[in-house]
Structure formats: C-alpha cells, structure tokens
Symmetry: C2
Subunit: 377 residues, 2 copies
C-alpha cells in the first residue's frame, strides 16, 4: 500500500491514523461485536460516541455554553436553504431579509438559493476583482432590518479567506452591534482558533476538514432559535429534520443522524487534540501555506492571483503562466503521487487544498515537483 | 473478534463480507492510495463507484427506464417533508392535498409532517386495531383530487407489512387508475422483489437493508417531476438539494453526495447479487420469519400481536406474556450474543429485526434462546 498526497478540495484527505483506526474497528468496535455503522443510534455505545464527539468539538473550538452544536445532513448547499428557512424571519418574526457579502463562487451560490426565501441585499461584492479579495468592511452597505449578515469566510474555489473579524459596531455604528453574523466555514473550520462568540451561526460541511461527506455541523447561538415572541424562528415550511430548534432540543437525535460520519469526525477531533489543538494546527497550516505561496511569489513560471492579505491557508489556486502546459503538469503530478490538483472548472488552472490532514511533507513534495517542472520547461 | 447477532431495527447489521472489504480498502481503494472517503465526488474513481451502485440497484429491483434513482440525504423523516414539497402540488400545480393510509408509528409521523405542506386526508387508519393490521383496501376512502396516496409498506415499529399490491382501479374505479402511490419502504426495500412500475415514488433510508445512516434512496417515475405545464412540480420553498428534478438532472451530483454511504451501499448491492438477487433473498427472509413466527404461534409464553396476514418479514415485535420477565430476558439475550432486542418505547416488549444481513443461524440462535428461557421460567 502506498498512500498518495491528496490535494482534493473535498471530499478530502483524512489523517492516516484515523483511517487506520476506523479500519481496525470496522467489524468490532471496542469488543461490542459490531461495527459503529451497525449500532442503533439510541443505544448506549453510539450515544457515547456522539456525546464524546460533541464534547471534543466544543473543547477544540472553545464553544461558549450559550451555543448549541448540531449535527445535520445536506452539506453546505443544503444550508444555503436551511439557514434562511431557520433565521430569515428574524427576531420580529417578519423581517424576511438578510445581507450577504459576495467573495466567490460559494457566497454566490448562497445568495442565489437564499433569495428564494426572502430579500437578499448584497452588502458588498468582490466580483469586480474576479473574486481575488475580500471587500473592505468600511465599504459594506449594511441594512438595519436584515435578520443576519451572511459571509463565506473561506472561499474553497477562489482561495479567498477572511483574516480579520468584522466589527460592525465600530465600522457601521451601534445599530449593527447585535447583527448576527452567519459564517459558512465549510472549508476552513478547525484550521485555526476562532472566537465563536463573535458569530450567530457557524456552519460547515464535514468533507473538508472534519470527516466524510454527508455530515454537516452547525454551531448556533441559542437566542437565534426563538423570535421575540419566544416561538421558533424557523419558517413554517422548514422541514422538521432541519429545524435548528428541534435539533437543539433533541441533541441532534430527532431523526437518525449520519452515525458513521459522526464517528469518523469524532476520531478526527481526537486526532486534532493529540496534535495539540487548533493553535498548533494554525502553526502547521501557516507553515504549509507560507512554503507554497512563498514559491508562487518567487517564481515567474506560476502565479497566485489572490490579494496577499486575503489568501486562503486552506485552498491555494494557482496558474501556470503558460497554460498550454497544464496537461503535462497534471500528468507529471499524478505520476509523482500528487493527486487531484486540477483547478475547479469555474476558474481553471490548478488548486492545492492543504487542509489539516495534509502534512508539511506533502507541500514540500508539491513545491519540489513544481520547481523541477519549471526547470524542465 | 467475536461478531454478535445484531437485531437492531436500524442502523442495523450489515453483511460481514461487506464490512471486511470496506476495512481492507479503507486506506487504499484499488491501488489509488486513498480511501473512498477522501475522493473527490467528481473524480473518475468515485464517479465509477457511483455509477456502478446505481446500475446494480437498478438491476436488483428491475427499475424501469422511466424511473430515476436518486441518492439523497435526510432519511425517512426528511422525506416526510421532502415528498410533499416535491409532489403535493400535483399535476395541475395547485392540488395541495394527498391521501394517506395510517398503519403505525411511521405513517403517523409522515402524516403529521406532511400536514404542514397541504391537506392530508386519512384514507384509512388501523389505529383501532392498535396498528396490528393493514386496513382492507376496499375500505379506503380515497380522494380524486389527491396528488398522491402515501403508504408505509413496512412499519418498522409495529411490524406490519403490506403483502399485497393495492389495485386502486379495481377497488375504487377508473378515476383512481393513475393515482400515484408513494411508498415508504425504508425497512423492507430489497428484502424481496417488488413491481416498481406500480408505484409513483419509492423511498427509503439506507440504514436498515442497504448501508449506513445518512443515505436516502428515492426511485421516482419521471413524469412526476413535472406538472402539466412542464414546470418542476416542486414547491418554490423546496430546498434545491432536495428537489427531485434538480437531482434527477444532475445524477444526484447537484451537491456533494454522502460518498462513503454510496460506496457501502454499492458493496451491499454486489453482495445481494452474489447471493442470487432478490428472489433468493425473499426465500431466505421467508424462512427466517417462518421460524420465528412459527415458534411465537406454538408457545403460550411469548406472543405476536400482529394479524397473521400482515406480519412483517423484517421486523418482528413480540411480547413475553409475563412482562415482569422482560429485563431478565434481555440480560440473558445480551449474554448469549443476541443484541438490541428491546422493543421500541412506543409499544414496549421485544423486537427482532431480521433484515437481509441477518443469517438464518441468527434466528435459530434466537429461537433456541427463547425456548431455553421459556423452559427456565
């Protein structure tokens, strides 16, 4: 068996130790004589796995006590509908509008889907830059009646990441002090510490930095589950299995959760703790990104098109100056065990996704290959 | 490692050969150097796994060409909202009502959720029997304006199964010739052949007879995706990731599907084909059920309360006549490696779920234990 370096944007590489443990436990978890996949979700064995995953995630992200962690299904695209179905009615129950900042393909998709549930105001858009930067906060045109402000804090396709926390009261005045910020963190959740208390809702599909596709994680501030009349804030058309209040009240056990995905996520959480937690992961991730961007900035053979201050630590799109060499570059990379480097069809070129599970050695191998390719051409 | 006999109602036992293969391939699928869990869903390796799973399922169930097979998320409870969101507007676009036959806890849940999307007419209910029988078709009060008729063809909790196909034209006249029948087959799909062409929509959560929780399968007749004006039949509030038309048009790849679940399901489909397909499975399943029901009918120590003609081949609820012995029965069963036999809290007693993956030896061991327990008490 030879493991490759897998730069897929998602589903993505998982820690080898996690996969090895999952393989070893596949037929018999802890002497139970059954796979986790075969366990009743309401039995004590799985309930323990579930509770431990929740507790470890809470510890890793230092989630405050007034936030609920929910395990859902449907992925990031699912949340594009589920978020407005849950939150767009707002505190008053009839706000029915929200703000969004568009920084790439993912926030564009969120905007398109959310529009079906109410009025979406584009507070700012980086479309004019070709989605290579985050618009400066001072330029955002925010709306006081918005039920929330939606951000995609890491654009998987465009490689644009927020490296600052918007402080709306400071930039836009006291009226925005309590504006809930909804953050799609699908592709950088758990890559570094974040101050959860600054957000109303954080969500992410698991398939980048957490575990298998099919598990979605939402971290929601409790007061956003209810409106001012203490009724559920969700729209009457929101399916019960996606009603945050219902899931919060049942510890995400209203319906059968994606049990095996939760188990793998739990193993990843334990692996992250064993690495030293998110502060250590941030150091690793910054070192990996610095190596790759450092080379991209030093060569004239390849280029990164993203504004330096807004470059993603997780997803690094890059381009060969001579795009006629793309096929040769990918073929050589494949042969060298550097997999899934082809860029997303929306922007072309190449993309290296270097999530938590990508070791420094993988980025070193990539840069070494890029240098050799440059020399050869 | 000692594998147990696992009678869980779901998530449930999977074929040992499938789990062994999944374990062996966990770190390196077919020499790719990566786990299926780590593969891009749009890469050729996973696309092949996906296409093969679809083709094998189509072959196993002999799904006609004018039906689409969809892989979704959200489980059976999710479908309770997703079905009305997709189909309740009907051919005219404004029918907004549907019929349902209530035969147990699952059809009750479907009724409650679907009511939020339109008018649900209870065509018949077995509540008066304590949900121990399927109401005779001739007694169903059907409504010509219903967009569809919803049935739960196997009630997992109550152990009631349809062993006949309703022929509505024969019982209710020509007006019902084209009434689409929607069947929740979560807990008996693939246990025996069914004539798919008699249904408008068949759906099921995977976690009983197919694979891991978090994958849902829907088989839908193509004409039900559109209304008479050739527009999508779905309600405007239906999330895009759950819009059957959208999923049909994208081969269930509109969003990232639960890739690992699809892979395991695909291994189960291959295992079913290797067993000889659904006709052979039906023979096995009938033999297992006959053994257990035969004993339940022969003893006065235990009882089955379900009408003989409507007994489920998959889920067998049974009761000790002396319920004060329940705890002792379960403890002894656990010690004998007979797991998860406790009945659902809604009806109490015991329940043995004997899905495809339960070998005859498991039912033999259960009956032997029951006989020994009877002798000892």
């Amino acid at each position: 068996m030879t493991r490759v370096f897998n730069f897929s944007a998602g589903p993505a590489a998982l820690p080898e130790a996690v996969l090895a443990q999952a393989a070893a436990e596949m037929l018999d978890w802890h002497g139970t004589g059954m796979s986790v996949m075969e366990m009743s979700h309401r039995g004590s064995d799985f309930m323990g796995i579930h509770a431990e995953a929740l507790a470890d995630l809470r510890e890793l992200l230092a989630v405050p006590a007034n936030y609920k962690i929910l395990f859902l299904q449907g992925g990031g695209l699912g949340e594009n509908a589920i978020v407005p179905l849950n939150l767009m009615r707002g505190k008053s129950g009839n706000q029915n509008e929200a703000d969004i900042v568009i920084t790439g393909v993912w926030s564009e998709k969120s905007h398109l889907e959310a529009q079906r549930y109410g009025k979406m105001n584009i507070a700012a858009s980086a479309v004019d830059t070709g989605f290579t930067a985050v618009p400066v906060v001072e330029s955002w045109k925010l709306n006081q009646n918005a039920a929330y402000l939606h951000l995609c804090t890491n654009e998987t396709i465009n490689g644009v990441e927020y490296h600052f926390m918007p402080e709306l009261e400071a930039t836009h005045g006291a009226a925005f002090k309590d504006m809930p910020i909804v953050a799609d963190m699908s592709s950088h959740i758990l890559s570094r510490p974040v101050d959860v208390s600054k957000y109303g809702l954080i969500y992410g599909g698991a398939q980048k930095n957490i575990g298998p596709a099919g598990l979605t994680i939402a971290i929601v501030r409790e007061d956003l589950l209810l409106n001012d009349a203490s009724e559920t804030r969700a729209h009457s058309m929101c399916p019960s299995v996606f009603n945050y209040k219902t899931l919060a009240d049942t510890d995400s056990m209203y319906n059968t959760p994606p049990t095996y995905g939760i188990y793998i996520a739990g193993l990843v959480f334990k692996w992250l703790k064993a690495q030293g937690g998110l502060t250590v992961m941030e150091t690793h991730n910054r070192a990996k990104a610095a190596l790759l961007y450092g080379y991209l900035d030093a060569t004239s053979f390849f280029e990164s098109r993203v504004n330096k201050a807004d470059r993603s630590l997780m997803n690094v799109p890059f381009f060969l100056k001579d795009e006629s060499l793309n096929a040769a570059f990918l073929q050589g990379a494949n042969e060298a065990g550097l997999k899934q480097l082809k860029g997303h069809r929306a922007i072309g070129g190449m993309r290296a996704s270097i999530y938590n599970a990508m070791p420094l050695a993988g980025v070193e191998a990539l840069v070494a290959y890029m240098k050799a390719f440059e020399r050869a051409h």
